[in-house]
Symmetry: D2
Subunit: 307 residues, 4 copies
C-alpha cells in the first residue's frame, strides 16, 4: 500500500451561505464564517455545496458567494467549488466561472432531473473534467440526485485521472468501504465522507477526510476528531464523534419542515447563536427557525458547551 | 357542472429542440417543426419542457429556443414556456425572461435536487405566480422531481387563482381522476395529461387536453383523437389511441441507454426521417440514435404509414 | 382482432374478510357478503386477495375463508383464490390447498420479501402453473411486492398458456394499455384492472374486467358501469365511474393510519353500516374505524344514496 | 455509562440452510455447518434469517431447520430464531413453534407485503413480545421490508422491555450510530449490525456484535475481528475487516441474478468448496452457481487462503 497523498483531505466543511433578512448574500457574515472555520483548523473549504443552499441561489449569487469565500480564504486552504447543475454543459459553464473566481477544484453530481444511464454518467464526468481544467470531485448524493454512483466507475475514473476525489453522501457505508479499499492503489485520489456522525468509522476504514455540515458549527471538534484518528487514538476519536453526534441533534428540533430546511436551519441558527453570522434567514421557499426552535438549538449548544 | 373554458386545452405538444451536429440550436429545423405542428392542428405549444431537453440547455440556449418558437408561432396558438429550475428564485428568473420572450404562460415543477416539504411546495408555487405575472401551470413529473404533487393542494391553488392548470406526467391515473373531478368546479383550470398512450381514457375522465411528446411526430393523430373525443365518438378515439400507442413503440428501439435518451432520440429520429428536422443529434451526455436504431424507427414509421 | 372470450372477466370484487370482535373469521357475515355480491350481479369472486386481509390471516384462517366463499357461492360464479406467499414453494402449497377447497383459479404475485431477478420471476410463475393444475393469474401490485411485472413477460407467459390472466394493481396505466394491446392476440387471456376509480378508461382501452375493492360496498354500481361499457355508452360509464370515485372518498376518512387500514377499514365500516357484515373489526396490528370515523363514512354513504 | 451486558452479543452468524439436490433440507450438512461455526468461536447462532432462505422454506422445513440447529448446538451458544412472516398473528404462530423447538430468542421484522403505519409497527412488536414469552429482536431490513424502523421507537421498545435487541441490516449507518448512543442507557439491549464489511466501524461506534452472512464462510475471521476490537486494537480490527471485505467479493461473481441468489449462492458455494456442506443447491426459483461461477469463488477463497 502506497502512502496516501491526496491534495484535498482532512476536514473540509461545506460552507453555509449566510443571508440577509431580504434574502441577499450576507457577505460580512460569510467572511466571518470563513475566518471562524480557518481559525478552527479546517483543511479546506467546500463552497456552493448542498449545505450552501446552492440549489436556491441564482447564478449571480453563486458567483458572488464563491468570490467572497475565495477572498476571505486568501489562499490559506484549498477551496472546492460546487457546480451543481442538471447536465454536462450547464456544469461546465459553472466550472469555468468557478475557475475564474479562483476555485482550486470543482465538484459535480451525476445529471439530475433527467433520467440517466451509467454510460451517460461516466461520459458526463469525463467531459466536465476535460473542459474544466481543474481537479474534479464526484459528488455522490442519492438523496438529491436519486442515483448512486457506481464504485467501479468512480475507481476507473480515478485511475484515468478524471476524478481527483469523491465526496460521498450516499449513506451506503458498504460501498464506501469498497471505495476506500480501491483507493489504496490510487494515492492521490481523495475519498471524503459527507456523513458527519460516522467519521470515526470512515477514517478507520481508510477515508481521507470529511465534509461535515456540522463542521460549520463546531470546526474545532472535527479538527480534534481528525487529529485523534491520525494519531491512532481511536477511542478518543470515537468519544469526540459521540459528542458531535449529540450536537448534531440540533437538526431534529424543527418538525413539519423539509430535511433541507431542518438541517441548514439548525446550522445557521447555531452560527447565529455563536455570533458568527447575523441572521438565520433561509432561502425561499424555506423558512427560518422561529424563536422557539432557536431556543431549543440554544439549549443543545449549551449542553455541548458551545455557548 | 359548469361548462369548461380553460385558456389552454386540447393538443399541446412539448416541442422538441432540434440541434445541429455541433450541439447548437438548429433554429431552421425548430421553425419547420413549429410549422409542422401548427399545420397538424395543435391547440398550443409547450416549449422548454422535459421533452425539449430543457435540462440540457444553457440559459442562453433556453432563451433562444423560446424566441424561435414564439417567432415561428406568430401568435397562432398559445405558447407555454417551461421554467424548469431547482428552486423558487431560479424559476422566477426564468419566468421573467420567458415573459419578455413572449410566452403566454409558464410551467414550473416543485423544487428538485433539494428535499422539500408540502408547505414549501405550496409556497413555491404561490411566490412564482405572484412574481411571474403570467398564467402558471404546475408540472407534476415525479420521475424527474421525485415528488408527487398533492391533488388537494393543486385544487386549492387553482381555486385561489395561483394555477391556471396542471400538466400531469405523474403516471398516477387515480390521482388524475380526482384532479379532473375537482376541476369540475373550476371551469378555467386546465387539466392536461402528459401520457400520450392513455389520452382516450384521460379525456373520458374529464381531462382538458394532452401534452404528447409523440405529438411532435404525429400531430395529426392527436388532432383526430381529440376531435373524436370531443364528438363523443369514444370507440374511434380508442382506435386512434391504439394506433398511436403502437407508433409510440419507437421509444423501445434503443437499449442500454437512459429513458430520456431513448424517448427523445426516437422522436428526433422520426422527425428527421419525416424530413421535418435536419439531424437527430442529442445533448451531451446523451448520444443520437445510430444507423441501426434509425432503421428500426423507420420501419415503425412505415408500419404506421407515416413515411 | 379475435373476439375475446376469457373465462374470468367482468366485475370480480376482492371479497373482504369479516372478523368477529375477537379477530376470528365471521363466517355468517362472510356468507351474507357473498350473497350480497352475487345479488349485485358480480361475474366472479376473488377471495384471499390483499383486500381480504390475506397477509394478516393464519393458514387455518385462510383455508376457512376460502371454504366459506366457495360454499356460499355454490358454483354461481367463478371463485379465484389468492395464494399470497413469499416464494414459489410456499405459493404452491397454498395453491394445492386452494384447489382442494374448490377454487376455480389461483392468483400469485412475484416473490416478495426477498430480492428477485426477472428470470426468477418468470420461473416462479412457470413452476406454480405447472404444479397448481388450475388457471393462474399474475397479480401485479408493486405497492406490496415492490416490483413491477414486465409486460413482455406477462404476454409471453400468456402465449405459453402459463397465465390465464393478470390482475393489475400496478398503477401504471401506460403499461396496462400495452398489456391490453398485447392481449388482442390472446383471446382467452383476461386483463383485469384493480383500480376501481379508472375502470371506464381501462375498459375503453380494452380491459376485460375489474377487481374493485369498492365493489364490496357497491357491487350494483360496478355492474352498471360494466354494462354501460359493454353497450358502448361511454358517457354513462364515465358518469357512473365519477359517482363511484366520489364514493371511494370513504377511504380518506381515516388519518394517521396505514393505507391498508384506511382502505379496508372504510370498506368494512361501509358494509357494517349497510347491514351486510356485523363488525368493522380489523386484523392486528390494524385498528377498526372509531365512532367518529364511522360517522364520516356514514355521511358519505348517505351522500351516495347507499343508506 | 453503565457496562454493557446484553445476553446476545459478539459474532452471531445467520446460519445458511444447506439443501439436497432435490431441494430438501440437508440435515447432515446443516449439522456440520453448526459444528464448523461453533469450532470457529461464534457467540451465537441466528437460524431462519434472510440468509437462511427462510422466505423460501415451507413451514415444515422451517421447523425442521430450527430443530437441527438447536440439536447440533446442544446448548453451547444461544440460538436466535427468525420468525419472518407478513403480520403479527403469523409471526406469533412461528414464535410459539420456535419456543417449542428450543430457540432462546426470536427475531421479527415489521409487517411486510402490506402497507403499515408507525403506530401499527410498534403495536406489532408489543403484541409479539407479549405472546412469544421469549426475548424478541427487531430485524431492520428495509431492502426486504421496505420500511426503516424508527430509532426512537426501537429505543422506546427497548426501555419498555419489549425488545432484547436489534439486528440492523438497514444500511443506515447514521441511524445505527444513534441506536448505539441510545443503547448506552440500556445495558441489556443488544445492538447487532448485519453489515459484514463495516464491522470495525460499527464496533468502534458502540455496537454489541455482528450477524455476518460471510461468517458462515469464515467464522474465524470474524472471531479475530471481534477480539481485536474488544482488546482496543483498532488497527488490527480494520486490517482483518479489510481482509474480510475482500473475501466478501465472492458475492459479485454471479451476474444476471438476484442479489439474494448472488449472496447466498456465494456463501453456499464457498462452504461446499470448504467441504462443510455437500451441495450449493438453492431454493426455487433461484439457481445454484454453475461450474464457472464456482471456479471464480474458488479462486477468491484461494486468494484468501481459505482452501
Amino acid at each position: 500500500m502506497t502512502a496516501r497523498r491526496p491534495a484535498f483531505s482532512g476536514v473540509v466543511p461545506p460552507v453555509v451561505t449566510p443571508l440577509t433578512a431580504d434574502g441577499d448574500i450576507d457577505t460580512a457574515s460569510l467572511e466571518r464564517l470563513v475566518g471562524f472555520l480557518l481559525e478552527g483548523g479546517v483543511d479546506g473549504l467546500f463552497a456552493l455545496g448542498s449545505s450552501s443552499e446552492t440549489a436556491y441561489l441564482t447564478e449571480a449569487q453563486r458567483t458572488r458567494v464563491l468570490e467572497v469565500v475565495v477572498g476571505a480564504n486568501a489562499g490559506q486552504v484549498p477551496v472546492i467549488a460546487g457546480c451543481i447543475e442538471t447536465t454536462t454543459n450547464r456544469v461546465i459553464e459553472r466550472a469555468l466561472i468557478s475557475r475564474e473566481s479562483g476555485a482550486d477544484a470543482v465538484v459535480a453530481t451525476a445529471p439530475f432531473y433527467t433520467r440517466t444511464h451509467p454510460v451517460e454518467i461516466e461520459r458526463h464526468f469525463r467531459e466536465i473534467a476535460a473542459a474544466a481544467e481543474l481537479p474534479l470531485f464526484a459528488y455522490d448524493i442519492p438523496v438529491c440526485v436519486h442515483n448512486k454512483l457506481d464504485t467501479a466507475m468512480l475507481l476507473r475514473l480515478a485511475a484515468d485521472g478524471v476524478l481527483a476525489g469523491v465526496k460521498d453522501s450516499s449513506g451506503d457505508d458498504v460501498a464506501f468501504r469498497y471505495l476506500c479499499l480501491g483507493a489504496r492503489e490510487l494515492p492521490e485520489f481523495a475519498v471524503l465522507t459527507g456523513h458527519e456522525v460516522v467519521v470515526d468509522g470512515a477514517l478507520l476504514g481508510g477515508a481521507d477526510g470529511v465534509v461535515p455540515g456540522l463542521g460549520n458549527v463546531d470546526p474545532h471538534g472535527y479538527r480534534r476528531l481528525a487529529d485523534h484518528a491520525a494519531a491512532g487514538d481511536w477511542a478518543a476519536a470515537a468519544a469526540e464523534q459521540d459528542r458531535l453526534a449529540r450536537l448534531f441533534e440540533i437538526v431534529t428540533v424543527a418538525e413539519n419542515t423539509s430535511g433541507t430546511a431542518a438541517g441548514l436551519g439548525a446550522f445557521k441558527t447555531a452560527l447565529m447563536l455563536r455570533d458568527i453570522i447575523t441572521t438565520n434567514a433561509m432561502s425561499t421557499p424555506m423558512t427560518a427557525y422561529d424563536a422557539e426552535q432557536t431556543a431549543a438549538v440554544a439549549a443543545l449548544l449549551d449542553r455541548a458547551g458551545l455557548r
